[in-house]
Amino acid sequence: MSFSIAIQTQDFDVGSEYGALISDDTAAGAVVFFVGRVRDTNYARDVKSLSLEHYPGMTEKILQQILDEARARWELIAARIVHRVGELHVSDQIVFVGVTSMHREHAFQAAEFLMDFLKTQAPFWKKELTGQGALWIEENSKDVTASLRWKNE
């Protein structure tokens, strides 16, 4: 599973994901991973749960393209993206991005790049269920800015 993606309704186990990332490699001296979780407030709204929708077929394709792009930019040994869909509750894990490399700069940068591009390219949509009703989350301009900084590098 040196470079792989998964879109799933079930939870993931960070320890297992980490173990699988480093399993068959002794050269990977640096491992960086990120976990995104459902937080209890968003723009001052009281979030009860999230419903995550995606575009099957396109999501896999885009995530694969993002992984390929990261491999072209940095010296990576392995990388993994796991993204959950369906109904999620406060403090549930949503996304896992893990990267291994010989060097930490490559691992740190690639992990950040993967998250920035996932957020602006991969066709996922979050709908919040709050005390005030259901609300689709809108595009965050900070995410757009974050992904643009990689364009000139």
């Binding site: 995104g36 929708e53 885009i62 949503i94 996922f124 949509w125 689709w136 595009e139």
Partner: protein
């Protein structure tokens, strides 16, 4: 025929997930949108904001060509992660 999908908030606003559109006379995304709004003028307000388009699972611009058998999806900016 062109298979047209509406996803996420757009699907809820339009109240429809998928339509089949005859491919004759439609050359690109802009013409497809024009056709859809011609048939459903009440959709205008929902197409006025920022929407993304994909043809066969690849992002596309409004001048991208569309042909029979294609799957074209319209959807709002993405918010995963």
């Amino acid at each position: 025929m062109i298979k047209v999908l509406f996803l996420a908030q757009l699907r809820e606003q339009l109240g429809v997930a998928e339509v089949q559109v005859p491919a004759s006379h439609i050359r690109d995304v802009a013409e497809l949108k024009e056709y859809l709004l011609g048939k459903n003028p009440q959709w205008e307000q929902f197409f006025a904001g920022k929407l993304l388009v994909a043809i066969n699972h690849e992002y596309a611009k409004s001048d991208a060509s569309v042909k029979s058998g294609d799957e074209v999806a319209f959807f709002p900016p993405v918010t995963g992660g």
